[in-house]
Amino acid sequence: MNGLERMRKALKREEPDQVPHFELLIDPKVRNAIKPGLSNEDFHEYLDLDGIGLGDKNNAHRYLLLNKTQKLYRDQWGAIVKFSTESAGIPQEPAIKSEADFDHYAMPDPDEDWRYDNLRKAIKRFKGERAIFCGVTDVFDIVKESFLGDVVMFISMIRNPELVKRISQAVLEYQLRYIKNCIEVGADFFFINGDYATTSGPMVSPKMASEFLMPYLKAIADCVHENESLLAKHSDGMLWPLFDQIVQTGVDAIHPIDPEAGMDMGEAKAKYGGKVCLMGNIDCGPLLTWGTPEEVHQATKECIRKGGKGGGLICMSSNSIHSGVKPGNYLAMVEAIRKYGTYPLEQHLENLVVAGSRERP
């Protein structure tokens, strides 16, 4: 079984030959420390990872340099963003400062051909062998970060919900077009990035989530499925209060079952393992940054014991292999996945957690 076949089986909650592994992002510092001089694609081949991720922000969005010393750019939505040593830019000034701004707003064009150049390169090299995941930023995240700014966005959800919905609809239409184009070019699967929660709990109430978050995620899930592809939803944080709603949108997988927020892979498997593929949940906070390879090895073994039985597990870090991850810890994680993740898991592990299927509420 190759990486693509393994990943597809896991996403469909069927048992592959091996628990698959990939990361949406592996920082160049970590890659270079493990094997110097390799490109990102070479590195994926070197470690024989089952998939490769191409985030939309880094591969399919345009940034206009505003101030080199301050590392300020204008993102494609019109917000001013700042970059640091980590790869994602954070908006400093939102694109929309008043409702009138949006009346005259011109959305970027998802059909511009250059947006798919990196995807084409990945397809040329890996198609049919390794799963090619396109990262798509969640509508909620784009509206919050680039269009309105976080504080204004949350206040507007109560004070001006129609504006939030108007912008969300416009962003959704862009993203649906982007997804269709990616599928046409040859993407295998999708990974919807953007947090709905912090470590304490959801950013918005379940009721507001059903009004402002889920309709757009469901529209994306429907579009992906209509085009015979599969998708995962990523959100850091304590997601339990929203988990039923996310599952109901029809997403095929949820990442990362955030250990830093106290979410347990065994609980996720027992409650939702029959409904959705689980991805994650190796802590890229303290564990991969400051822990020992032995601790990482043990945590990975536990993740597979709790989430792997019968398939439906893609073992990954809880966010990304960022620049602070100890290279030896990432290698320990990959080694442990290969050691304990070969099916049948019973040959290496005891007390495997059985997938449950919580009734739809």
Partner: protein
């Protein structure tokens, strides 16, 4: 006697205009600004904070309440200044060098302002020397630093050490927060306070300056 419960309830209900109008009514009726703050607005905001920590309220409800208090405080400020209690204190805050996440910091600022703090926001990706420079100005009671990434957490202790080296450590109380920062880590690096969320941060800040 003025019915402070109405102000409290309008705030809990997230009604910015009503909170503002009731505050104006109270001022017009001759109620001292400090009393409006202490008996109407602060209890309202405390209740919103309690509901947030209990998982009944979320960011939108918390921030709308913060906005309502900010608007009401703008009306009260001229009166408060006369009585010498215009602000709770001065707070300088920033996200450390290398870290560019600011959602948590923005919400802390909103809640501090709602509680009468005058906040200077240094923004994100703030170098240690900038924190030191600000503290040297002697204007602030509290320096708050946020770090979200495990890679940037060491900047918190570096800043505390830099302040010690410059002989400035005792000029301010230091608070730290951010997703990977724990209470234990805050103690270990010699911070004076830690806030798990915005509501706790505000309570700790008040305690640190004895209010």
């Amino acid at each position: 006697m003025f019915d402070f419960v109405k102000i409290r309830d309008s705030l809990i209900g997230g009604d910015i205009e009503k909170t503002e109008a009731l505050t104006a009514d109270a001022l017009e009726a001759g109620v001292p600004a400090k009393e409006i703050l202490d008996k109407g607005l602060i209890p309202g905001l405390d209740e919103v904070g309690r509901r947030f920590q209990n998982g009944e309220y979320f960011f939108p409800e918390l921030l709308v309440a913060g906005e309502a208090v900010k608007k009401a405080l703008a009306l009260l400020r001229p009166e408060l200044m006369k009585s010498g209690s215009a602000t709770t204190g001065k707070y300088v805050i920033g996200t450390v060098k290398g870290d560019i996440h600011d959602i948590g910091k923005n919400i802390v600022i909103m809640m501090l302002e709602g509680n009468g703090w005058e906040v200077t926001d240094l923004g994100i990706d703030v170098p240690t020397k900038t924190f030191v420079k600000e503290v040297r100005k002697k204007e602030y009671q509290i320096l708050g630093m946020s770090a979200l990434l495990t890679t940037t957490i060491p900047r918190l202790s570096e800043t505390i050490e830099a302040l010690k080296k410059e002989g400035l450590r005792d000029r301010v109380k230091i608070m730290v927060g951010g997703v990977s920062v724990t209470r234990g880590y805050a103690e270990q690096i010699g911070a004076d306070g830690y806030g798990r969320d915005a509501v706790e941060a505000v309570a700790v800040a008040k305690k640190l300056i004895g209010k």
